[in-house]
């Protein structure tokens, strides 16, 4: 069992689809989980129909959604890094790594979960994942937490192989759906399409939500 888990993602909903179930399992087992979220997803595009947000009110809405998602997932320690959506790859890499390193030093996690740099599609995902790895590598190997990465680029399995960990989260399926729902501004559209499928137990969707996959970080991979 882990001592403390640190999840690190740049956007408030990044944890919802692929990590929330695992997090819920940890917090239910009494493992503290810290979430270091990089931005407030300020550049999200979905303003709703009817509108529920403007470009200027979206960050505050997404912050509240994130807090609600954390409540659902049992995360009591949410750290907001205050970066701006879509700009992480243009920041000084060491500065971003410094922010994350301070959190690592503070919570001393036994496991870190982040995006696999180079295999996470969104430039913020890749840059933030890279900063997390950079921060973790500052620790001597015997003190370094395990690092599980999320990857979903088209080519990820060609380079990384199949996922090292396939975690069955079907025991917390409904709670995971609640966490996804909490990010309403981002997930309302998908959820609308899912409800009929879930009612019919659509096997692909149930499998996709019920299994969370991770790659153990094994060093930089040349593409």
């Amino acid at each position: 069992m882990e001592r403390h888990v640190l999840i690190t993602f740049p956007h408030p909903d990044d944890e919802a689809f692929g990590v929330a179930g695992t997090v819920i399992q940890y917090t239910r087992a009494g493992v503290p989980v810290t979430y270091a979220c990089g931005t407030l997803g300020e550049m999200g595009r979905n303003m709703g129909n009817p509108f529920f947000a403007t470009r200027e009110t979206l960050p505050e809405i997404r912050k509240k959604e994130l807090q609600e998602a954390c409540r659902v997932m049992g995360i009591k320690d949410l750290r907001l890094l205050g970066l701006h959506d879509k700009t992480i790859e243009f920041e000084d890499e060491d500065e971003v790594a410094d922010k994350i390193y301070r959190i690592i030093e503070d919570v001393r996690p036994s496991l870190i979960i982040t995006f696999y740099p180079g295999f996470a599609v969104h430039p913020d995902h890749d840059a933030y994942g890279a900063a997390v790895i950079r921060a973790a590598m500052r620790l001597p190997e015997d003190q370094r937490p395990k690092i599980y990465c999320k990857a979903f680029s088209q080519n990820c399995e060609a380079y990384l192989g199949s996922p090292d960990i396939v975690n069955d989260v079907s025991d917390v399926f409904d709670q995971k759906l609640e966490a996804i729902k909490a990010h309403r501004s981002q997930t309302e559209g998908s959820l609308k399409e899912w409800i009929p499928k879930l009612t019919n137990n659509d096997p692909d969707l149930v499998e996709w939500i019920g299994k969370e996959t991770f790659w153990i970080y094994k060093g930089p991979v040349a593409v």
Binding site: M43, R45, P50, E56, T57, G189
Partner: protein, 123 residues
């Protein structure tokens, strides 16, 4: 679950009202937010397409004439001392509680495609 909303008075553009605000803002030092995007996942979902986008936040501008044109969706042009600001595809607007002019173009599903915002204070 708490449902949080914050859409203020965002509503379909009324051209004459927007024009009045553009006139009010003319000749002053302003901060601009200008943004357009077709979505960062466009190229991921459709490999034959490019993800394109650009944004400027808190650029300082001053324009001598600002004009809204079209019959909806609308276009706005701001003529500056030595250049232009241009935005196309604007559908909705509000002046928010901080007195900022927020103009945006949304697809039918509510996805933002363009935003042009002007403020006397930094965003």
């Amino acid at each position: 679950m708490n449902i949080v909303t914050g859409c203020g008075n965002l509503e379909a553009i009324r051209k004459e009202d927007v024009q009045k605000v553009l006139d009010d803002f003319a000749g002053q030092e302003l901060y601009i937010h200008l943004e357009t995007t077709n979505g960062v996942y466009t190229g991921f979902r459709r490999p034959d397409q490019l993800s394109v986008g650009a944004f400027i936040r808190n650029g300082k501008i001053r324009y001598s004439r600002g004009k809204i044109t079209g019959n909806g969706p609308y276009r706005v042009g701001l003529k500056m001392e030595s250049g232009w600001v241009y935005a196309e595809g604007l559908t909705d607007w509000e002046v928010d509680d901080k007195g900022r002019l927020l103009l945006a173009g949304h697809h039918k599903d509510g996805k933002l495609a363009i935003a042009l915002e002007l403020s006397k204070e930094p965003f």
